[in-house]
Structure formats: structure tokens, C-alpha cells
């Protein structure tokens, strides 16, 4: 087996993405809002398009700001429609994200001369190519280390998420399980909700910019759901889902290298394989759950 620095970076990027997603993802699953990641990752398209039109470049900072703003708008609009219109929350999520995606598509097509944005690329990402986009390089014990931008971005997001969870652990726990109690204890469950939504929006945007949206949706939901089958303690669930996500990233990459040749194909999508690997781990946990419960 040949293993290059490239492979290490792909696995590391995938694992960082898994950790960044698993932390807010656990709370999404606990709050019955699992589809929020899917909704936000579709809904940010107009944000990307408008940011591109205004800034005139694909520099990631503007795209990031645009996407994060629209991500937050998605969360807020979902909340408003379900609150004011008394619509089921999942339905209002569906309404908001399809509308925003359509708006984004319209903007892109209208400005096709100026925008070089491919919706497919936004949705699928190209994890295999991330190590080529290098932000910094240095030599360490004679070994040339080239830090990819995606890995750096995801490391920052993962640390911020970890920090937020550490600081607000108790508040988030109470707000997730018993919003009324949290109100009674003197802090606003609503604020915790919006903090979580902001976290999900930023994480989703950062992760899919680097690795594509399908892996974001998978990493947000599947590892936490797997962990919830294995443990009933929140701290343990958080730790397990981050670990399982990282393991799935490694397994996914290995599978993407070794599996297709067995069937006579050349290669396949690494992000897709990582999503599939999270599903594989879920099935294992599910079987254990079925046998021992």
C-alpha cells in the first residue's frame, strides 16, 4: 500500500470536519432538528452567488460571510414561519431552503456571464483536491509540511465549536432537554437555540466549502445518532460521535482507495465513501442495539 502525505491530509481534513460537525450535530439530533444541516447547505446558494457578484472574486472570505449570513437567515426564517404561521418545523425548513435554493439558482443563471459558480461543485465538493490548496508550508525535522487551507479552516471551526460546547455545556444540555427549566433557571433557551443555529450555519458553510455538502449532512447527523445508540450520557455521546466521525473519515478514504479496484473501477468520490462509512458504523451500532436491547 502506498501512502503519501496527500492521503494523510485528506484523512485529517475529513476527521477535522467530522469533529467540527459532530459537536453541534449532537444537539441538532437531540432537538429533533436533524435536517437543519441539509437545509442550510442547500439554502446558502444565494449567499454564495450574491457575495460573488458583490465582491467580484471567489476569495473565500466573502463567500464565507455571504453563506454564513444566509445560513442564519435560513434558521431565523424557519423559526418565524413555524412560530407565526404555526407550520410544522420540518415543513417550514423545507419551504425556506427550497425557496432560497431556487433564488440562488435564478441569480446564478441570470448573471451567468459574471458568475463562474457551479451548483454541483458546491454540493459535492472535491475532497481529493483540497491538499493542493496550500496556505502555509514549513520544514519540520527535514519533513516538508504543506498545510492545506481546508484543514486550517476546519481546525479553527472545530476548536471554536469545542470551546463553545465547553463554556456552555450545562446551558446547552438543559436547553436541549428541558427549555422550560432553562428559562426558569434564568437563562434564555432561545439564545442557546440561536447560538446553536449560528454554530451549525458556520460549520456547515466552512465544511462544505472544503469538502462538499453531502459529507456535512452525513457527519452532522449519522455519528451523533450512532453515539446515541451506544450511550445515554451526553458527554460520552459528544466524545463518541466525534471519534466515530473521525474513524469514518479514515475508513472512507481507505475504502475509496482500495474498494473500486476490486470491482475493476479506477476510483471514486472520497466524500461519498466517508458518508457511506458513517452509515456502516451506524449499521454496526444498530445491530448491537438490536441484539442487546
Amino acid at each position: 500500500m502506498e501512502w503519501y502525505a496527500l492521503d494523510s491530509w485528506i484523512v485529517l481534513t475529513g476527521a477535522l470536519c467530522a469533529i467540527a460537525c459532530a459537536l453541534p450535530g449532537t444537539f441538532l439530533v437531540l432537538r429533533n432538528m436533524s435536517m437543519m444541516g441539509d437545509a442550510i447547505s442547500h439554502a446558502v446558494l444565494p449567499g454564495l452567488a450574491i457575495a460573488f457578484l458583490l465582491s467580484g472574486s471567489r476569495s473565500s472570505i466573502w463567500m464565507f460571510v455571504g453563506a454564513a449570513v444566509v445560513g442564519l437567515i435560513t434558521a431565523l426564517a424557519t423559526q418565524w414561519i413555524s412560530h407565526w404561521g404555526k407550520v410544522d418545523r420540518n415543513a417550514s425548513m423545507g419551504i425556506v431552503f427550497t425557496t432560497l435554493f431556487a433564488l440562488g439558482l435564478l441569480i446564478i443563471v441570470q448573471a451567468a456571464d459574471h458568475v463562474d459558480l457551479d451548483p454541483n461543485c458546491v454540493l459535492y465538493g472535491a475532497l481529493e483536491l483540497t491538499p493542493l490548496d496550500v496556505v502555509a508550508e514549513w520544514t519540520w525535522f527535514g519533513l516538508l509540511i504543506e498545510l492545506p487551507r481546508a484543514a486550517l479552516v476546519l481546525a479553527v471551526v472545530a476548536s471554536i465549536n469545542l470551546l463553545i460546547i465547553c463554556v456552555f455545556y450545562k446551558e446547552m444540555k438543559v436547553a436541549a432537554f428541558d427549555p422550560d427549566l432553562s428559562e426558569a433557571q434564568g437563562f434564555r433557551a432561545g439564545w442557546m437555540h440561536y447560538l446553536l443555529m449560528a454554530q451549525v450555519a458556520v460549520t456547515t458553510v466552512a465544511a462544505f466549502e472544503a469538502v462538499g455538502s453531502i459529507i456535512v449532512v452525513a457527519m452532522l447527523i449519522v455519528p451523533p445518532a450512532t453515539a446515541l445508540l451506544l450511550s445515554k450520557r451526553l458527554g460520552m455521546v459528544l466524545f463518541l460521535s466525534a471519534t466515530l466521525g473521525a474513524a469514518a473519515a479514515l475508513m472512507g478514504h481507505l475504502a475509496a482507495i482500495h474498494f473500486p479496484p476490486l470491482l475493476g473501477f479506477n476510483g471514486t468520490s472520497t466524500a461519498g465513501m466517508m458518508a457511506l462509512a458513517t452509515g456502516f458504523l451506524f449499521v454496526l451500532a444498530w445491530l448491537k442495539h438490536l441484539m442487546f436491547n
Binding site: 419551504i95 471514486t268 466524500a271
Partner: protein, 476 residues
């Protein structure tokens, strides 16, 4: 062009709608020719747009019907999960067809593959939900992402397959609204007839499934099979719609028309009709508008039109719309305030008659005592009095004294009587302490119907206004 009267209304409303959507194109074309071409498209005079418009209209109608049941069953995002879960089936079907020596793009084969993997996904969601504590939404998210991941893996491998071009398989997911062919139209006709018949024949069963699954099961209905049947119908709509109009539009079509219809009615049959109608109108309008000018992707425009109808429904829908509900709440609040004012005056008059030892009559009371009686601010009392005066319930108000009118006195005694009857009922039949009963009665007395009052009279064997079971505010 001579505008006939029956054409004016739709043209006006449509051009208003289009003004919102197409600022650039509107500015470019002169209004007259623009309306002319809009009408040509809407009335299907252009031969080449007819197919697309008919197809999207039919699909909107079918998905409006099916979506209604999905929404009521709180599974609105099932279309989302299902449409993503179709991808691996498409890839596998392509592989099998290539292995058998075909081009790999026969529509029937791809549709079969998509349906099978979609149904497998749905079955997996139901099994996960039944065998674990994982909720519906998380189960949907798991299936959606893992199946889609599998699909991408398969397509990623297929794309490098020698001798077969897999290009265009992804358009199966993104749709090709503007370039639909006769085959798609035939499929959509079959689909809408099928879902129409199914919704017609199974309205009762599906209603039961939506509103009281446990009751249905206890009555011996095959709930599991009905559930699967409903989801198979959703799968049919999703798969056929997916390759015709794309993933986002079919997800939107399954959710938005039904959610918009919900604001207008509480009746399921009417909601079905409305949702079908809204879906059809959105498909018709959206594809027509997109045919008017270049660079208006039909799928996106249709979603935006549907969303526009949703926003209008959410604001103005007569049953659950935001504005009607706000107005009704304001009206009730005002009615309650008025009734409190009249009762307060009545109770004050009672106090004076008890203090004087005289018989109860419509005496003059002071403004100050009224404020003190219920701890109201003078400003609030002024506002209430102004409204009561408009209804001729209060007369002779000079800033210090006031008096009830003839009509107001009757109304006040009726309101006070309702309040006390309810209080007595609570004390005698619900075992609530006399000093707690005032507030409880307050929340119910305003909505007591005449029938209820008559029943209370019979139960309590009293027809006159009973005396209050507790002290009524300040002593004077």
C-alpha cells in the same frame, strides 16, 4: 389587442406578480407587447411551451394532493429524503443495463432503479424508527446522507467506465424542465391519474393515518400497509417528478402547496382540492413566466411562484393566516376589556345599593371609584369608556360621573350573571375555593355560548343574577 373583460383580472394579477419577479425584463419590453406575449404563453398558444406547461401543472396538482397527507402526517421532508435516496438506484440500474449491453439510459430502467432504492430508503427509515429511539427526522437525515453518499460513490465509479457514457445521469437529479419530451408528459399524466384515484379512494383511510394512527390500529385497520402505500405514492411522485423537474422543485412541490392550503381551511377534502389547485397554478404560472424570457430556469421560477403564494396564504389565509388570527385576537381582547368595564360598573352599583340599603338600580358612579375597583389606570379606563360609548352602553360621562345606558345596563347584568353562574358552577361542581374562583371564571365567561348559559341555569336552578360568592373589590 382588444382586452375582453374576463381576461382583465388574471392579466392584472399576473403582471403584478411578474413585476415582482422580473424587473429587468419588464423594463426592457414595452408593456403592451409584454402583456400580449404573456397572454400568448399563459393561454398555451405557443406550441412548444404547451408540453412543459401542461407537465408542470399536472405534477403540481399530483404533488399537492400527496403532499397534503405528508404534511398532516408531519413527514414533510420525506420527499427530501426519498429524492436523495433514489441516486444509488439510478447508478446501479445504469450499471446493470450497461452490463446487459444497452446504452444504460433507458428511462424505464432508470425509473425502476430509482423507485427500488427510494422505497428501500423509506423502509429503512420506518425500521430505524420502529426498532430504536431515534426520531423520524434523524432517521431521514441518516438515510438521506448515507444513500446519497452511496449514490455518489457509484456514479464516481461509473463515470470512468470504458465504453459507456454516464454523462447526463446527474441531470436525472437536477431535472430538465425546459426540455421535457412527450414521454415525460405521458408519465406525468399516468402519475396524476394514479395519485388522484388513490387519494379519492383512500381519503378516509389516509385521514385516519394522519390524525389517529393508534385508533385506526385498535379498529383493526392495516395501518402498516396503508403507511407503506402512502409512501409508495410519494415515491412515485418523487421519482417521476425528479427526472422531469429536478430534486429541489419536487421537494418544494411536496411541501409548499399543502402548507399554503392549510392556512385557508380546516377541512381535509377542501385542503386536498386547494393544495392540488395551488400546485397546479404554480406549475402553470411558473413555467409560463420562465418561457417568456431567456435565462429564467423553469424549476427555480416555479419554486419562487409557489413560495410567493405561500407567503400570501400565510399572511391572509382566512383560517390560520397571520393577519386574520391577529385581528381575531385583537377583537377578542377588546371584547374582554369592554365586558370587564361593564361588569365593574355593575358591581359598583351593587355595592352602593348594599351600602344604602336601597334596591339595585342603574345609579351614577364616579370615575375614580371605577379606577380603584379593578386597579385600572385612568388612561386605560378612558380608552374602555370611549369604546363603550361608541356602542351606546355608557351615557352622561362628564369626566367625573358616568352612568350605563338602558342597553348597557341590560348587557352588564347579563355579563355579570354569566360570570357568577360560572363561578357558582365551579364552586359546586369543580370544588374550587370561593376566593380562587374569580380568576378562573374570568378566562371562560367571555366565550360562554347561550346554550351553555341555559344549561348552567338548569344545573344551578337559578334564573336571577346570583350574588357574588366573594367580595367584589373595594368598599366605598
Amino acid at each position: 389587442m382588444s382586452v375582453r373583460p374576463h381576461r382583465i383580472l388574471p392579466v392584472i394579477s399576473l403582471s403584478l406578480l411578474a413585476l415582482v419577479l422580473l424587473p429587468v425584463e419588464v423594463a426592457a419590453a414595452t408593456a403592451a407587447t409584454w402583456i400580449d406575449s404573456l397572454w400568448r404563453v399563459l393561454s398555451l398558444q405557443d406550441y412548444n411551451t404547451r408540453l412543459v406547461v401542461f407537465s408542470t401543472t399536472l405534477l403540481g396538482m399530483a404533488s399537492g394532493w400527496v403532499g397534503t397527507f405528508l404534511l398532516l402526517r408531519k413527514r414533510a421532508l420525506m420527499g427530501d429524503a426519498l429524492s436523495h435516496a433514489c441516486l444509488p438506484g439510478i447508478g446501479i440500474a445504469f450499471l446493470i443495463m450497461v452490463a446487459l449491453g444497452g446504452s444504460g439510459k433507458a428511462l424505464a430502467g432508470l425509473l425502476t432503479g430509482a423507485s427500488i432504492s427510494g422505497l428501500l430508503g423509506v423502509a429503512a427509515i420506518l425500521i430505524i424508527r420502529r426498532t430504536t429511539t431515534i426520531k423520524d427526522d434523524a432517521a431521514m437525515g441518516i438515510i438521506l446522507s448515507v444513500f446519497f453518499g452511496l449514490g455518489i460513490v457509484i456514479l464516481g465509479m461509473v463515470q470512468e467506465l470504458p465504453g459507456a457514457s454516464a454523462a447526463g445521469l446527474e441531470s436525472f437529479i437536477y431535472g430538465k424542465t425546459a426540455s421535457m419530451v412527450q414521454q415525460d408528459f405521458n408519465l406525468l399524466v399516468a402519475l396524476s391519474v394514479l395519485s388522484g384515484i388513490a387519494c379519492l379512494l383512500l381519503t378516509k383511510e389516509f385521514t385516519l393515518l394522519c390524525f389517529d394512527e393508534a385508533y385506526g390500529r385498535s379498529m383493526g385497520w392495516p395501518i402498516g400497509k396503508l403507511d407503506m402505500l402512502m409512501l409508495a405514492l410519494v415515491a412515485a411522485v418523487t421519482v417521476v417528478g425528479l427526472q422531469a423537474v429536478g430534486l429541489i422543485l419536487i421537494i418544494a412541490f411536496l411541501i409548499i402547496p399543502a402548507a399554503a392550503a392549510r392556512f385557508w381551511t380546516e377541512n381535509l377534502v377542501r385542503m386536498l382540492l386547494l393544495a392540488g389547485g395551488i400546485g397546479a397554478i404554480s406549475g402553470w404560472l411558473g413555467s409560463s413566466i420562465s418561457a417568456l424570457a431567456p435565462r429564467l430556469p423553469a424549476g427555480a421560477i416555479i419554486v419562487l411562484v409557489t413560495a410567493f403564494i405561500f407567503i400570501l396564504s400565510m399572511l391572509f389565509g382566512i383560517r390560520r393566516g397571520v393577519l386574520p388570527r391577529t385581528v381575531a385576537a385583537l377583537r377578542l381582547k377588546r371584547k374582554i376589556g369592554r365586558q370587564h368595564l361593564l361588569r365593574a360598573i355593575y358591581e359598583l352599583q351593587e355595592c352602593t345599593s348594599v351600602a344604602d340599603g336601597s334596591a339595585k338600580f342603574n345609579s351614577r358612579i364616579t370615575f375614580a371609584s371605577l379606577c380603584k375597583h379593578r386597579h385600572w389606570t385612568p388612561k386605560a379606563v378612558h380608552r374602555l369608556i370611549r369604546k363603550a360609548k361608541k356602542e351606546d352602553h355608557i351615557e352622561n360621562f362628564d369626566g367625573i360621573h358616568l352612568q350605563l345606558s338602558e342597553a348597557g345596563y341590560g348587557e352588564a347584568s347579563r355579563i355579570t350573571r354569566n360570570h357568577r353562574l360560572w363561578e357558582r358552577f365551579l364552586i359546586e361542581h369543580a370544588d374550587i375555593a370561593a376566593n380562587h374562583v374569580d380568576r378562573d371564571a374570568d378566562s371562560v365567561e367571555h366565550i360562554l355560548s347561550p346554550d351553555m348559559v341555559r344549561e348552567l341555569e338548569q344545573q344551578l336552578k337559578s334564573s336571577a343574577t346570583p350574588s357574588s360568592p366573594h367580595p367584589t373589590g373595594g368598599k366605598h
